[in-house]
């Protein structure tokens, strides 16, 4: 029942926000998100670390009960549920500093988005997963296209059509797999665990591998499917960008772990190297472009593209290190990237520019912002004792185990990451003060309340990674049995 309440509560909260509307909208939305955080926190602390799906909920839905509304939280889902639960209230709080037109709709859409994301991460039925996977697009599309920047219509349209296009292939693969299953009663089954047990020929595995891969690769995005990403991140209003980069791109990585690897292990053996090579190209390519960026938001967008490449590579290495690393890194990256976008938003809205060359010397006026920024930045560049280190270390270990050379190239991410992040910090925060940065106001109370939890998380994951790793380990081990 806990899972069901996690799934339904944001919808209720969103409807309440719509019903009350007006000035109270944001407070109610924030409160709703806090309750949801409480629910997911409860799941986190009462989760028993084994391979089972817990707090499960199961209800016959369609086709005489062979497609079920079935959801639960296992070790793989848990961290993402926690991530979604944690980030949504912070994203809502970070939006408080702006006044958006039609606030009720704006905040309700964020909550709808949260409901859909929770659904993706807890679904135990393949079609339920697909439904949520698609449903998540609609609120984010309207968020980005209604409140975004100048070029928003064309950019978000590309994003929408591109991602739906990808997931249609997954739908075909899922329907195909569904008809492959058979249960005792002569019916089919779409439970994800039933799909794991299918025996598929090498040709079938190849086709299904690519159908899944395209869907998830567009979502993450993996090179060369990333062209929608930088523009969409830049044009979206910051809360939507945070949702996209912080949580939504994890849907792709999660999908690979949950569906692709265990269903078509043979396909991964055949094509996994291709996938890793593409991911590694993405790492290097994204990082090099990030180094050259002048626009802060765009820089963070490319850094996010580079980081997710490493996660994809780690996952496709099919090693326990790689998958565990990806799970922790998803949590860590979500936290860091939301923090970074918030810093970018604060700087951009106070200086009215996002261009790095026009900034400088902000640190003189802002001791607090400097500290928060530095902590998040160190997390992003994977400094030991921060959250990024744990994830990236495990991911790199996984890729190394798979192939030394690819591992070495992927390892460049740490160096490149340090280059573009420190360059960002240096250009924005140090140097000479310019006209627009003179008298820069330090972070206010409510802004601090976004940063503080994020910074705590950076250190918590960095210092005691085991409190997270021990939760995911049995589930990952269980998944690996299907993969091997």
């Amino acid at each position: 029942m806990l899972t069901l309440s996690i799934l339904l509560f944001p919808i209720l909260a969103a409807l309440l926000v719509l019903a009350v509307g007006g000035k109270q909208a944001k407070q109610i939305a924030f409160l709703g998100a806090l309750v949801e955080l409480g629910l997911s926190g409860y799941a986190f602390f009462s989760f028993v670390p084994d391979a089972t799906s817990q707090f499960a909920f199961d209800y016959p839905w369609i086709a005489a009960g062979s497609i079920r509304f079935s959801a639960g939280i296992d070790g793989v889902s848990l961290l993402l549920v926690v991530l979604t639960g944690l980030l949504t209230p912070l994203i809502i709080l970070s939006a408080f500093r702006h006044t958006y037109e039609r606030p009720a709709v704006f905040y309700a859409l964020i909550l709808f988005m949260q409901a859909a994301l929770m659904g993706v991460f807890t679904a135990r039925d393949a079609f339920l997963f697909y439904l949520y996977f698609e449903a998540a697009l609609i609120p984010i599309y309207f968020l980005a296209a209604s409140w975004g920047g100048e070029n928003r219509i064309a950019v978000t349209f590309k994003f929408f059509v591109y991602t739906i296009f990808g997931s249609l292939f997954m739908l075909v693969a899922l329907v195909y797999l569904y008809f492959k299953t058979s249960t005792a009663a002569g019916l089919h089954s779409s439970a994800i665990t039933d799909l794991y047990n299918l025996t598929l020929s090498a040709t079938e595995q190849t086709w299904i591998f690519w159908a899944f891969f395209i869907a998830f690769a567009i979502k993450m995005p993996v090179f060369p499917f990333h062209t929608w990403q930088p523009d969409t991140y830049v044009e979206s209003p910051t809360p939507a960008t945070m949702l996209l980069a912080g949580i939504m791109l994890k849907m792709g990585v999660y999908g690979v772990i949950r569906l692709l690897l265990p269903i078509v292990p043979e396909g991964v053996n055949l094509w996994g190297t291709t996938a890793i090579v593409l991911s590694v190209i993405g790492i290097v390519y994204g990082a090099i472009i990030a180094i050259r960026q002048r626009d802060i938001k765009r820089l963070i967008a490319y850094s996010s593209f580079s980081h997710v490449g490493l996660m994809a590579a780690g996952v496709f290495s099919q090693t326990s290190y790689g998958i565990q690393g990806a799970l922790v890194q998803m949590l860590a990256h979500g936290i860091n990237v939301v923090g970074m976008f918030f810093v970018a938003d604060i700087i951009a809205s106070r200086t009215n520019t996002r261009l790095l060359d026009q900034m400088g010397g902000i640190t003189r006026y802002t001791p607090k912002l400097t500290v928060y920024f530095m902590i998040l930045l160190l997390g992003s560049v994977a400094l030991p004792l921060t959250n990024g280190f744990v994830g990236e270390f495990l991911l790199l270990a996984g890729v190394f185990e798979y192939n030394n050379i690819l591992g070495a190239i992927a390892g460049l991410t740490i160096i490149f990451g340090a280059v573009y992040m420190l360059r960002l910090f240096q250009k924005a925060m140090f140097g000479k003060t310019t006209d627009i940065t003179t008298g820069f106001k330090d972070v206010s109370g409510s802004e601090s309340w976004v940063f503080i939890p994020l910074c705590i998380m950076v250190f918590w994951i960095g210092l005691v990674p085991n409190s997270f790793l021990k939760l995911t380990e049995p589930a990952v081990a269980n998944l690996l049995q299907f993969i091997k």
């Binding site: 839905w61 369609i62 086709a63 005489a64 697909y130 439904l131 698609e134 449903a135 609609i138 309207f142 296209a145 209604s146 928003r152 219509i153 349209f157 929408f160 059509v161 739906i164 296009f165 249609l168 292939f169 739908l171 075909v172 329907v175 195909y176 569904y178 008809f179």
Partner: protein, 463 residues
């Protein structure tokens, strides 16, 4: 087949009601008649029997398709309030013709004898020719009617020729007899039969506007008064597909190997032409015409992959498509009236600019319709596509499926242009007022779309 008799009588009654001075009674009377016919149809639920000298077959499938036709007709009539204000219009005659055309549609759905199919097609088609041209003073409406009439008659002729050949081969017009003949011939039926199958198929495919027999569709849809376009694109299509399903599954089921390739090629063509051309349209109405072609393509997948899934898939898809289409045309009717260009209502995409501010409810309804037609999850349209795709996978028709998936992505492009116009483009800021009953019908259509999207199983229990 109580509904056939009732509707015929009601049609005549309506003609007499036209003599009344007050036109106000016509609309509620028509709606009432349709509801009675709907109720009468469901009285025969679970009673499968032949009727009228073995000419018609009453079955649950037929009742479901009839139900979809009647629900669509109910909605179209309910949205027709404007006729009553139009001095030049003859509402009594329009409504009577609509009821008669439904009789034709029901005959197409429930026929057991090919003669009945022919009579049904003719009743429906002739009614549609008249209604298409009902905007008498409009040149385009006249052109559309003439075009539809000429090409339609030609197609009917081909179909009739095919029926004659079938009779020549099997010695009977009855579906079960033709089936018996094919079984008896043990895989070597006469050439006449194969010719007959193809010609009848061509005739029917014309009616459901499958490519390459689709050329009339955009012009006719654009020229006809919007309300009748809505009727045409839902009722005619549903009846046509019900007839094809009956024909292919009952009579020609045993020679599946012969016709499925033809049908699969036509399906592919229809999907390609419908979707790619729709993407280039500037007029919403023409886009909807091509979209109706593309939906004919998706429905044809269900037929080309004829199997256990097909019936359910077609019923569900027809319903999902019909309610979404009617809601879309219903909103076009309201919106197009606001802006007149060249003496005609503006039916381009730009007519929808800023609708979300002019009337958020209408914008929401149209958005849901567009999402459903595009096949986005949580709408009925998604499950319709899902079922059709399932049928294809069950038969291993992966290539058609890949094409259909690619074309769905194209579909998202042109349906979303409407959503973008409504929500993200600037338009005038005058509030658009809608009559309460009109609004109610549109909300009902949206409710069906969303409820079926959330619990598609609700409907499956009827199958």
């Amino acid at each position: 087949m109580l509904s056939i008799i009732l509707l015929s009588v009601f049609g005549i009654v309506l003609l007499y009601l036209g003599f009344l001075k007050s036109r106000a009674v016509l609309l509620p009377a028509t709606l009432f008649f349709i509801l009675i016919a709907l109720g009468a149809g469901f009285l025969e639920w679970n009673k499968s029997y032949l009727y009228f000298g073995d000419m018609l077959l009453v079955s649950n499938t037929a009742i479901l398709f009839t139900g979809i036709v009647l629900v669509s007709a109910f909605m179209v009539v309910a949205l027709s309030g404007d006729f009553l204000d139009d001095e030049a219009a003859q509402p009594a005659e329009y409504y009577a013709i609509l009821l008669f055309s439904i009789v034709g549609a029901i005959m197409m759905i429930a026929y057991e004898n090919l003669i009945m199919l022919f009579v049904g097609v003719e009743i429906l088609s002739v009614s549609m020719y008249v209604l298409t041209g009902s905007d008498k003073r409009n040149l385009r409406s006249n052109e559309a009617a003439l075009k539809y009439f000429l090409m339609g008659s030609f197609a009917t002729g081909i179909m009739l020729f095919g029926m004659a050949l079938l009779y020549g081969a099997a010695g009977s017009f009855t579906l079960t007899d033709i089936k018996g003949y094919i079984a008896l011939a043990q895989g070597r039926p006469s050439l006449l039969l194969y010719m007959g199958v193809l010609l009848v198929l061509i005739g029917m495919l014309f009616k459901v506007s499958a490519a390459p027999f689709h050329f009339w569709t955009p012009d006719v849809y654009e020229g006809a008064p919007t309300l009748f376009t809505a009727f045409m694109s839902t009722v005619v299509k549903t009846a046509g597909f019900a007839a094809l399903l009956q024909l292919l599954s009952v009579a020609f089921g045993a020679i599946y190997g012969f016709w499925w390739i033809t049908l699969a090629v036509i399906t592919g063509l229809t999907l390609l032409i419908g979707n790619l051309t729709a993407a280039y349209q500037d007029s919403f109405k023409r886009m909807m015409a091509y979209s109706s072609i593309s939906h004919a393509g998706y429905l044809l997948i269900g037929l080309a992959a004829l199997g256990q899934q097909s019936k359910q898939a077609l019923v569900f898809y027809s319903l999902a498509y019909s309610v979404a289409t009617i809601a879309a045309f219903g909103i076009l009717l309201v919106v197009a009236k606001q802006r007149v260009s060249d003496g005609r209502p503006d039916d381009t995409y730009s007519a929808f600019n800023g609708l979300s501010r002019q009337n958020p409810l209408l914008a929401f309804i149209l958005a849901v319709s567009m999402l459903s037609l595009a096949g986005i999850p949580l709408t009925a349209g998604f499950w319709g596509k899902f079922m059709v795709f399932s049928a294809a996978i069950d038969k291993g028709m992966v290539w058609i499926l890949v094409l259909a998936v690619l074309m769905s992505a194209v579909g998202i492009y042109y349906y979303f242009r409407v959503v973008i116009a409504m929500y993200f483009r600037e338009g005038s800021s005058t509030y658009i007022q809608v009559a309460p009953f009109y609004r109610f019908v549109l909300i009902a259509a949206t409710a069906i779309t969303i409820i079926l999207g959330l619990v598609p199983g609700l409907f499956q229990n009827l199958m």
